[in-house]
């Protein structure tokens, strides 16, 4: 027992045995890394503290009330949560199939050189600022929706509640479409990495028993990379939930809860962006910060899930 203790000295003894300059360098770099932790804690604390006024006034009913009236200091988050979730989920439904299909193409069929350059273009796409997506959406997609797509949908599928009501162009549908385009690059590039990490033996085994390349890709490789692909989708969902500028520019900015996707809506990030600098009173500001806290909570949960999934796949790859 004693020998064990001696052979495994505590961290303090180990530290003191080090060269003092090494110790200094260690502590110096450690301090910066720890600083990141401190900033993260501070971020949560500031959001929590700055929203105390509204948290005390409304409590949990903040999440369920759909009243948003700065004049009477009555605030509820439901329309914003609704708009955020509906646009993000719809964007995901639109983008996930396209993104995963593109990732399968890039990893399983395209020759490596072409695949690499196309992936580079996809990564450039991820670097396009969201305000530019918004700019294009306002002046190209919104008129197209208003003049062509919405009339078409209403004419042929108007019996569905999603496609009823007036056609302004801006609204939940427009926001979902922009978001879908914006999260597509994340899904493609991360899913592709997950697919490329699948050991080649898996493909070879499938091809050897007579599978076509698509069967090998779809029935063997894709399920193997399933967790990584799911991780990419959750990461994209987190991006979509927190996306601000492009959504603000096309969602219509009216706190409605309506089944119709043509209707104007509002997202959490959009209402913060629009009202923060013009907040009429302390309660209004506090309510907006509480909305920020809610958004923070939702995206952190999504990110945490995504990270766990991606970490699990990379471990799976390493053990092979």
């Amino acid at each position: 027992m004693k020998a064990q203790l001696q052979s495994r000295p505590g961290w303090l003894q180990r530290a003191l045995k080090q060269n003092p300059a090494d110790l200094a360098a260690h502590l110096f770099t450690w301090a910066f890394a720890a600083g990141i932790l401190v900033v993260a804690v501070l971020l949560v604390y500031e959001l929590y503290a700055a929203s105390s006024l509204s948290r005390k006034e409304f409590g949990w009913s903040f999440l369920l009330s759909s009243e948003w009236d700065p004049v009477q200091d009555k605030f509820g988050a439901l329309p914003f949560i609704y708009g955020t979730v509906v646009t993000s989920v719809l964007a995901l439904l639109l983008a996930a199939p396209v993104g995963v299909a593109a990732a399968i193409f890039l990893s399983e069929l395209a020759p490596p050189k072409i695949s690499d350059s196309l992936t580079f273009v996809v990564e450039l796409l991820a670097a396009v600022p969201s305000v530019i997506y918004g700019l294009l959406a306002i002046f190209t997609m919104v008129p197209l929706l208003r003049e062509v797509i919405q009339p078409f949908l209403q004419k042929h599928f108007g019996y569905l509640p999603f496609f009823q009501g007036p056609m302004y162009g801006v609204g939940l549908l427009a926001a979902s479409l922009v978001l879908a385009v914006m999260i597509l690059p994340y899904i493609v590039s991360i899913s592709r990495e997950a697919l490329l990490a699948v050991p080649p033996e898996q493909r070879e085994a499938a091809l050897a028993v007579g599978a076509t390349r698509w069967e090998a890709a779809w029935q063997v490789v894709t399920p193997y990379a399933g967790l990584g692909i799911a991780g990419s989708i959750f990461l994209a969902l987190a991006r979509a939930l927190g996306e601000t500028m492009a959504v603000t520019m096309v969602i219509g900015n009216a706190p409605n809860i309506s089944a119709s996707l043509f209707e104007s809506g509002y997202s959490i990030a959009a209402v913060i962006a629009n009202e923060f600098t013009e907040a009429t009173g302390e309660m209004h500001l506090s309510a907006l910060i509480q909305l920020g806290l809610v958004l923070f909570g939702i995206t952190i949960i999504m990110n945490a899930i995504a990270r766990i999934m991606l970490a699990a796949t990379s471990r799976k790859g390493q053990t092979r």
């Binding site: 060269n19 300059a21 090494d22 200094a24 360098a25 260690h26 770099t29 450690w30 910066f32 890394a33 990141i36 900033v39 993260a40 501070l42 971020l43 500031e46 959001l47 700055a50 993104g99 299909a101 593109a102 193409f105 273009v121 996809v122 990564e123 450039l124 796409l125 670097a127 396009v128 600022p129 969201s130 305000v131 530019i132 918004g134 700019l135 294009l136 306002i138 002046f139 190209t140 597509l184 076509t212 390349r213 698509w214 069967e215 779809w218 991006r239 927190g242 601000t244 500028m245 603000t248 520019m249 913060i272 923060f276 910060i289 920020g292 958004l295 923070f296 995206t299 952190i300 990110n303």
Partner: protein
């Protein structure tokens, strides 16, 4: 019968890969669509005035975005000056000094920080900097952007330091160098090039951020002297001009969008070139 099944499976193979190829094509063409549209709408509005004049009051045609361009430069400069060293040094800790548990925690927190919506970062800096100072400022905007640079720089640094072969480390230690000397004179110089390039990408990305600037740097129709005044920036200008009802402002928003996008693409492509050239040289040796 079997040959029918065989044909069917071949057809499925062909059709599904074609569809997947179309999806790829659609994704990739978005970038060219965006670029083409910006050039078509914005190129005609880019002139000397755009880079040298202040915005004109509503109703007067002409004017430029000189203050927004300078403002963006100052914001990004401040963000890089604060964010890059912090991220770099933490990255060195993770790659060279860290043990097991604490670095894993830091990595996880950094990843989460990276996923925090940028508008929430804006609220944080508003509460931390703007409220005590009682004014919007370049300082606050720069700090908001810095906070977004830190996690990216940290992970990039760690990744490229780890890519330095252990034989180099061992050689330095065998020559009697202490650990910090080994890190400072062998490992960091060996990876400096790649780290800088990767960092540049992170910095370029925040140059296009709008949301965290809305209530930190705010906006300004005039020059913003020093660091404690509200300042204009290109992304916020694009937002303000795009949602305004004036034709002339839309024209300028397109021009600003084109300038912003082209400079970001240029930095990204240059960085990619440098990195892949180094990679090719390494593997060729």
């Amino acid at each position: 019968m079997t040959s029918n099944l065989h044909l069917w499976r071949k057809a499925v193979n062909y059709i599904m890969f074609s569809l997947a190829g179309l999806c790829t094509l659609a994704t990739v063409s978005v970038l060219f669509g965006i670029l083409g549209f910006l050039v078509w709408k914005g190129a005609s509005s880019i002139n000397w005035d755009f880079f040298t004049q202040l915005p004109k009051p509503v109703g007067e045609a002409g004017g430029g975005m000189a203050n927004a361009i300078v403002g963006s430069f100052k914001l990004v400069l401040l963000a890089a000056a604060v964010g890059v060293p912090v991220g770099f040094i933490s990255g060195v800790y993770l790659a060279e000094f860290g043990g097991r548990k604490f670095p894993a925690l830091i990595r996880y927190v950094a990843d989460l920080l990276n996923g925090v919506p940028s508008i929430v970062i804006g609220i944080f800096i508003y509460a931390l900097v703007v409220m005590p100072m009682k004014r919007f400022s370049t300082l606050a905007g720069g700090l908001a952007l810095a906070l977004m640079i830190v996690p990216v720089t940290m992970r990039t640094t760690e990744q490229f330091l780890r890519a330095v072969p252990d034989s180099l480390r061992e050689a330095a230690l065998a020559l009697g160098a202490s650990k910090w000397r080994m890190v400072a004179t062998v490992v960091i110089p060996a990876s400096m090039h790649a780290v800088l390039t990767g960092t540049l990408l992170g910095v370029a990305r925040v140059a296009g951020e709008t949301a965290p600037l809305l209530f930190t740097a705010f906006n300004n129709r005039f020059w913003s002297p020093g660091w404690d005044q509200p300042t204009a920036s290109l992304p916020v200008m694009i937002f303000t001009y795009a949602i305004a009802p004036y034709e002339d402002w839309h024209r300028q928003a397109w021009a600003a969008g084109l300038v912003l996008l082209v400079s970001m693409l240029a930095v990204n492509i240059a960085a990619h070139r440098i990195l892949s050239m180094r990679m090719a040289r390494r593997s060729g040796r």
